[in-house]
Every structure is written in C-alpha cells, then in structure tokens.
C-alpha cells in the first residue's frame, strides 16, 4: 500500500492540503493524532482577515488575506458570515495611524473606508462611544471547525483517505529519503508503517519535533495566544483596534458567541500539548477588551482557552512579534538534502487554502505532472448557498446554519429532538457527525456540532448527549465515562473565569453531576 502523499496534521492546513492533493488526483492520506481541529485550528478567533491587521506591517500577508478572504466567501459561504469589520481609533491612539492604515490597506487592495464615528456607532452600537475614528473593512467571521470539516469531507469525496486518532511516531527514512510514516493508533499496541512518495508535515507547532526526529531542524517559536468567549453576541461586526497590533484588540462575533483575543507570548515547545489560559491572561484580555466594547465588562464569560501559533524563525532569526506570520513552505530536499519531505507551516486560518495550493504545486513539480489547482473555484461541501430561513423547521435551523447543504444528509424524521438546548443540536445532527467524522467521545462530537459549547457548558444536557452518543456508537456503557471526561475538559476552560454567573453555573454543574 503506497500513497502519493501523506499529510500529517488534521488542522485547517492539513485538511486544505489533503483536499487540494485529492482534487489534483494524487492518492492522498491525511493522518491526525487526535480529532480534526484539535490544535491551533480549533483554538483561535475564527476571524476571516480582510488583511487590514497586516496591512501596515506585512504587505504580502495583507494581500494574501484579502485574496483568500474573497475566495472563501465564495467557496465556503456556509462557514463564512460576512459580518464586515471596523478598525476603531480611541483618543489615545490618535488618527495618524489611521491615515497610514487606510493608505496601506488600499495599496494591498483592501477596501478600507474611513467612516464618521457617528456612523460607526450607528452600524455597531456596542463599540466604545469615545471613538475618534473608524475604518470599515471586509473582515468576516469564519467557523474554523466547519471549514476544516468541509475540507476533509471534500478530500474524502475526491478519494483521499483519512486516518484520525493515529499518532505519527516517526518518519520512515530509508536510503536517505523519507518514505512514509510510522503510526500508532489510539487503541493499538503496535505501530504500523505507511508508505508514500512524499510526506507533508502540516502539524502546526508539532511539526518541529517530527522533523527533528528525521534529523531536520526547523526553528519554530511557539507563540501562545489566549482568548475568551463571551456568552452571546455583543457586537454584530468584527471590532479591531486601529493601532499597531497588540494584545486583546480583536473581538469577533462567532456563531452565537463573541470571541476576544488575543495575547502573544513565547512558550516552551514542551508545554504545547497542554495549553490553557491563565487568570492573568484573562485579566489582561478583559482590561483591553473593554476599550473596544465597554459592555464586555458586564458580559458573562463562558470560558477561556489558548492556542499556539506555529511561528517559524527565519533561518537568520528574528524575535517576538516581529517574526512574520507569513507562509513557510520548506522543500527539505532542497533545504536539507532530505528528499520525500515537505513542511507547510506559518500562515493563518484565512490563508490555509493558499498554503495548500502552494504545497500541491510543489508536489506537482516533484511528480513531474501539470495539474491546475481548482480549490479556489469549486465550492466546499455544504456551501451551496443554503442558509437558515424563517420558513425552515425550527429545530433544523441551527443545523442548517452550521452545515448548510450538508443537512440533506441528516435524517430529521428520526431524531428531531433537541439534545443540546443552548446550541440546538438534534439527534439527527449527532448521528450525522458520528457517521461522517468518526467521533469517539463528546469532545470530538463538540468539534463537529457545537454540542456543549453554549452557556451551560453541558451542565444540563450532557447526560442526554452521552447516552445518545453511546447508543450511536453501540456501547451504552460508555455514557458515564463520556460525561466525566467531558466535564473535566470543560472545567479547564471555566476555571480561569470562575466568578459571577459562570461560578454559579459551575456550582450547578457540580451539584447536578456530583463531580
């Protein structure tokens, strides 16, 4: 059994790369150690950048963003909500930065328009009323879980194989060439070898260790970013601060919540497997966030979390934020004399499709074939323009909002009952996730449905969900373990914000489930 390409990493980069490779006709395998979106892809803002944030400091990145922004609105209409965005200037920011910002946006092709502060407040009443300037940009909200899922589904529909819950323990290096990967499944005791003509590392921050094991050094700088989730939508648009990029200056409306972030701190590589936000980070985020939207000070925080940006130190080094977040495509044959291995990293959620295109182009050159990239033209599964409408049955609307046209694969006649009430997840949607994404537990189920992500964090519904999921998986005895594991995982995010209503919720959760 040999593949053309094995892609390591089931985040958005790996998923998009798998899709592109499969569409170009390569025999493709995507390997992921856990579930899709288990790393940084599931721990970010969910912001579809207009490029505005990078316009002043990184022209190339800004141009990539706006190009991809337009493409994703088209091909991933189901995952993208065209909220638009504002860059607001507060009195202490002055307006000098704004002038330069607009000029730089225009140079990068971003439609940035200065609007009157009064008009900005009318468009978005939640923003700080003391603003002295505002610029409207085509930012949007994007659901990273749905975008990754859609890429994986499309890859599969174009013939790719997906191997989740399999950790790559080493790269197979034979005769001076990477020939495949050695994997260990979650339920396995022994490893197995899978061969391919090329291996692509798309494992985010975990790429460094994988490459190192094959004797290749990639200087990676793990940069921790903490974010907090507020219980409902306080603003309709993406709100940015119009100043030199800093902490906590972006608020994104994501699905039915608001996400504020982020921080940027260098952390040791070995801590990347257990990232959580600290109370100090929450304090900092909140202190800055209220400058953007004052009502955040009195809005319930559901949880806090953190992800790790896989920043790459250029071969002749840099430091801190000055490290470019640009796309890094490494051909290790050329760079290190190790054929058969490619690394794709850096970049952003917004530019993942482009990263995939660049990788697949390189693979085409290596395989000596000439196949055009079609990922920017073909819509992703679910993105057929289907939106939740008032006319739709009420219990289906949330599922339509999440999965678009994919709802046609859900059987609501056998499962219209809502099991997770905060996020309105029905049994039909759970069954769909089990069938299409091979979930093992409630955390997996959450990534593919939003189950348990709402205000109650599972307090009320999680037992129903556990019983339903255990039933779908054919082993009812799993339910108790599901509940315990899931609530432990939720606690991790609730602990740094345990006050006010979230503390009350925590107490309620504790009593109901006798933790």
């Amino acid at each position: 059994m040999e593949y053309d390409v094995i892609i390591v990493g089931g985040g958005i980069t790996g998923a998009a790369t798998a899709r592109d490779c499969a569409m170009r006709g390569f025999k493709t395998l995507l390997v992921e150690r856990g579930d899709l979106c288990d790393g940084a892809s599931g721990r970010n803002h969910g912001l579809l950048h207009s490029g505005g944030r990078y316009a002043v400091t990184d022209r190339e990145g800004a141009e990539e963003c706006i190009r991809e922004n337009r493409i994703l609105r088209r091909i991933a209409s189901n995952c993208v909500e065209p909220t638009e965005g504002l860059f607001i200037s507060l009195p202490e920011d002055g307006l000098d930065y704004q002038a330069n910002f607009i000029a730089k946006c225009r140079e990068a092709g971003i439609d940035a328009k200065a609007i009157d502060p009064k008009e900005a407040l009318r468009l978005e009443p939640a923003i700080n009323p003391s603003i002295i300037g505002a610029v409207k940009v085509p930012d949007a909200s994007v659901d990273p879980f749905r975008l990754t899922d859609a890429n994986v589904l499309d890859a599969q529909r174009h013939g790719a194989d997906v191997l989740k819950f399999h950790k790559v323990v080493s790269l197979i290096v034979e005769e001076g060439r990477v020939k495949g990967v050695e994997v260990l499944g979650h339920n396995d005791v022994s490893t197995k070898k899978i061969y391919a003509r090329e291996v692509v590392l798309a494992a985010g921050i975990w790429t460094a260790a994988l490459a190192e094991a094959a004797g290749v050094h990639i200087g990676m700088m793990p940069s921790k970013g903490a974010l907090i989730i507020f219980g409902h939508r306080v603003a309709r648009m993406v709100i940015n601060r119009c100043r030199k990029p800093a902490n906590a200056d972006i608020l994104v409306p994501g699905d039915v919540v608001s996400v504020l972030g982020t921080t940027s701190d260098k952390v040791p590589l070995e801590t990347c497997d257990d990232m959580h936000a600290t109370p100090e980070e929450v304090e900092l985020l909140l202190r800055e966030g209220v400058q953007l939207v004052p009502s955040l000070a009195t809005t319930r925080i559901i949880r806090a979390y953190a992800g790790v940006r896989p920043l790459v130190v250029a071969d002749n080094s840099g430091d801190g934020r000055s490290v470019s977040r640009g796309i890094v495509l490494l051909d290790h044959e050329e760079r290190d004399g190790l054929p058969g291995l490619i690394t794709i990293t850096g970049g952003k959620l917004t530019t993942a499709r482009l990263m995939a295109e660049m990788t697949a182009d390189l693979l085409c050159r290596k395989f000596g074939v000439n196949r055009r990239c079609e990922t920017a033209e073909k819509p992703l599964p679910g993105s057929d323009g289907r939106k939740a409408r008032f006319e739709d049955p009420v219990e289906q609307r949330a599922a339509i909002g999440r999965h678009g046209g994919e709802v046609s694969k859900m059987d609501f006649s056998q499962g219209r009952e809502v099991l997770c009430e905060c996020e309105q997840v029905t049994r039909a949607e759970i069954r769909y996730a089990v069938q299409h994404f091979g979930v093992r537990n409630i955390s997996d189920l959450r990534r593919h449905t939003r189950i348990g992500m709402g205000t109650c964090q599972g307090s009320f519904c999680i037992r129903k969900v556990a019983v339903a999921l255990a039933g779908e998986l054919g082993d009812p005895s799993l339910a108790d373990t599901f509940v315990k594991e899931y609530l432990q995982e939720r606690w991790k995010g609730m602990t740094p914000v345990l006050w006010g209503d979230t503390l009350r919720e925590g107490e309620y959760m504790h009593k109901v489930h006798s933790l």
């Binding site: 409902h232 939740a388 008032f390 009320f460 519904c461």
Partner: protein, 406 residues
C-alpha cells in the same frame, strides 16, 4: 476587573436549570411550544445572531409569568419572550381576516365604545348560533366562547352621577375596560368599599385601556401611546396625593411591570402609588386607620383562585386575608394553576383546545372543593372559570361590598 465582570445581560443569568420549564402551563399541554427556557434565554442568543431564528411557536406563550416567579436566577423570561414577539414576530404577523380578528380582540376601548350603546343588540347577536359560526369559521374566534356581554350603561356614565363631595380624602380609580364596558357592577362595588373605608373616589383625568391585549396581539406601538397617556394622568393624581387603585390584577401588573420592561416606559415614580384596592385596603386596616363593619348574616363557601399576574405581583395574600376578615366566609385557597385563558389568547380558535387543557386541572380542583362561588382578582380568569365549572366567579372587591354592613 473580575469583580466587576458580573453579567448585566439578563439572558446570561440563566443556568439552564429548567425550573421555568417545569412550571410552564403551556409546556404541559402543547408539544409545539418550546418552553420558557428555549423560547427565552436560549432562543435569544440565536435571535441576536439572526432574526431568522425566531420561532413562530412563541405565539403560544401565555405571558403568565409563572416562569419568572419560578426562576431562581431572576431571568425575566416572560419579558424576553414578549419583547421577541414584538421585535421579530412581525415576520409572522397574521394578515387578512385573522389579522382583523387580532386587531378587534386587541382594541378593547374602541370596540367597547362602539358596542355599549347597542348592548342588547350586540349581546344578542354575538350569542346567536349563526353569528358564532361566522366568528368561528371566518374570524377564528372559537365557537365555544361567548364574548363577555356589553353593559348598556358604561361605568363612567353611572359614576358621573355619584356625589363624592362629602369626603375629604380621596383615591383615584383606574377602572379598566372590563368594568367600564362590560361589568360596571364591579366598579360600583369598588366605590362602595372605598366609601365605606372613609375615602371618596376620583377617576383619572383620562384613561385608556392598559394595553395588555394590544401587546399580546402585536400592537406595541399603540400600547405604548396608551401607556404614556395613562402614566401622565396617574402622575397628576399622584401629585394631588392620591393613590391610583385598581380592581384588575392584569391591568395593574401591565402598568406596573410591562410598561417599563416591555414597552420601555419608565414608571418608577408611579409604581409605589399604583396598586390593587385589596393591597391598599389591607394596609389601611392593618395600620388601624380603617375599620370595616361587616354584616352578621353573610354566608359564602368560596374558593380563591390566584390569577397568574396576581402571583407575579405577589399580592394574593392581601385579597385572601381581606376575604378571611369577613364573618361567614368559608374560604378554600386553591393550589396555584393557570386557568388557561390568558386574556384574548383563549378566544382564538387555534388556542381553544390548549386553553381548555390547561384549565382542566384548575376546574377539577374547584369542583373537588365543594364550593358555590369562586373568587379571583382577574376578569379573564372569571370568564374561563365560569365557562369551565358553571360556578359564579366574583372579584374579592364585590364580595367585600356585598358583605359590608349597610
């Protein structure tokens, strides 16, 4: 910062404990209704994202506020649902004849003014089988329902001929539509009781329907106008040192709580002086200022039903204790159950069955109590309970009036 980060957004206080779901009378009989938690704080998060998530089934909310009474977190669930209906319900607003029906049911003042002069004719015609069939088939007013009869003489016409000049202390009476157009006797009883307490009665300079029917039928704009007018009149009375007293729990609740919460009309200055006669009177008697003398030969075996809005006000105690002061009154206080009518709700054909199913528990408990009269502070409960049990239903004010020594 963290100590200050306490949620102000009411929907976020919800812990999803579902106590509200447990007490919702509609939940028990109608599987189409999502229940207060889903319709209120859960649904609100989605409506904030996109109005397309508005659930038409919110029309089933009785606005009984039992959910709010039950909520341990102080979530204003009923208000949230009412506001959602006003804000998003327009996409589901009924057109054509059902729209006309809703408008007619809501316009208590106008329809009352037009009907009173022709009361015998209107009452006769509305009660006939062919008219009921038309109302049912064309307008969607259930044929099991009989509209409360219109009175030939309005309460205000009667009151104008009453001499209250002998008193030196006064209260102002907000009589409401039902007393004015349908049941002036309750107004007359009100005047009798207040006079017996040593106070004279004034009416408001101008009075309009409190607006509850307008709100529940989707005419918030008109309700707001009427509310403004009522509040302005009340402020004048209060400035003259008179409390504004009422005899209907729903009108009172609407003007005290729904005005600020649902219509956005601030009324902090009016609220302390706006109350039911029974609450005011109980206070006067308890403080020793007023002493009522009752007949020795009065006898009644009655059951007291706490109307939903009375429960929300938390004032049933006052009515019950006053009734217990009457010698010869044998009073059973019923368990709190919604009667199911919820104002104009139960008149609509599509709601009739739900309305009866909700009421059935209450009807059974009344019939079990072995009483000959039912007492309640709400006029729409009265219609429902009379139809459901065949027993006469009176307002406590009328019973007090009847029991007073002449």
């Amino acid at each position: 910062m963290q100590e200050n980060n306490i949620s102000e957004a009411n929907l976020e206080r919800c812990l999803k404990c579902n106590l509200c779901t447990l007490v919702c009378p509609m939940m028990e009989v109608n599987p189409e209704y999502p229940g207060p938690k889903k319709a209120g704080p859960d649904g609100e998060r989605y409506r904030l994202k996109d109005p397309a998530y508005y659930d038409y089934a919110l029309k089933y909310c009785l606005n009984c506020k039992r959910c709010e009474v039950a909520c341990p977190s102080g979530v204003e669930i009923g208000d949230m649902i009412q506001l959602a209906r006003i804000k998003y319900g327009s996409q589901a607003k009924r057109k054509g004849l059902l729209g006309l029906r809703d408008w007619t049911l809501a316009s208590t003042d106008l329809v009352g003014s037009l009907s009173s002069p022709f009361a015998p004719v209107v009452n006769g015609v509305l009660g006939t089988k062919p008219v009921k069939a038309v109302l049912d088939g064309v307008l969607g007013v259930d044929s099991h329902r009989t509209f409360p009869a219109y009175s030939g003489q309005k309460f205000t016409s009667w009151f104008r001929r009453q001499d209250q000049s002998a008193f030196d202390k006064f209260v102002t009476y907000f009589h409401g539509c039902y007393v004015n157009y349908n049941y002036p006797q309750l107004g007359k009883d009100f005047v009798k009781v207040v006079n017996a307490a040593g106070y004279g009665v004034h009416l408001l300079e101008k009075e309009k329907c409190c607006g509850v029917a307008l709100m529940s039928n989707g005419f918030a704009g008109k309700a707001r106008k009427q509310g403004e007018l009522n509040l302005a009149s009340m402020r004048k009375a209060i400035a003259a040192g008179e409390p504004v007293l009422t005899s209907s729990s729903t009108c009172t609740f609407t003007m005290r709580d729904e005005y600020p919460h649902v219509l956005g009309l601030p009324n902090d200055d009016v609220r302390p002086s706006l109350m039911l006669l029974t609450k005011w009177l109980y206070g006067k008697i308890a403080s020793g200022e007023v002493k009522l003398r009752f007949r020795k030969d009065f006898s009644m075996k009655a059951a007291y039903h706490t109307a939903c809005h009375m429960q929300k006000l938390g004032w049933e105690y006052y009515s019950i204790e006053l009734l217990r002061m009457i010698p010869g009154m044998e009073l059973t206080v019923l368990d709190q159950n919604c009667c199911g009518i919820a104002g104009t709700f139960g008149f609509k054909k599509e709601n009739y069955v739900h309305s009866q199913n909700i009421g059935s528990k209450l009807f059974a408990s009344i019939l079990d109590a072995g009483v000959n009269t039912v007492l309640t502070d709400c006029e729409t409960c009265k219609w429902q309970i009379e139809a459901g049990t065949g027993l006469p239903v009176l307002n406590p004010v009328s019973v007090l009036a009847e029991a007073l020594e002449d």
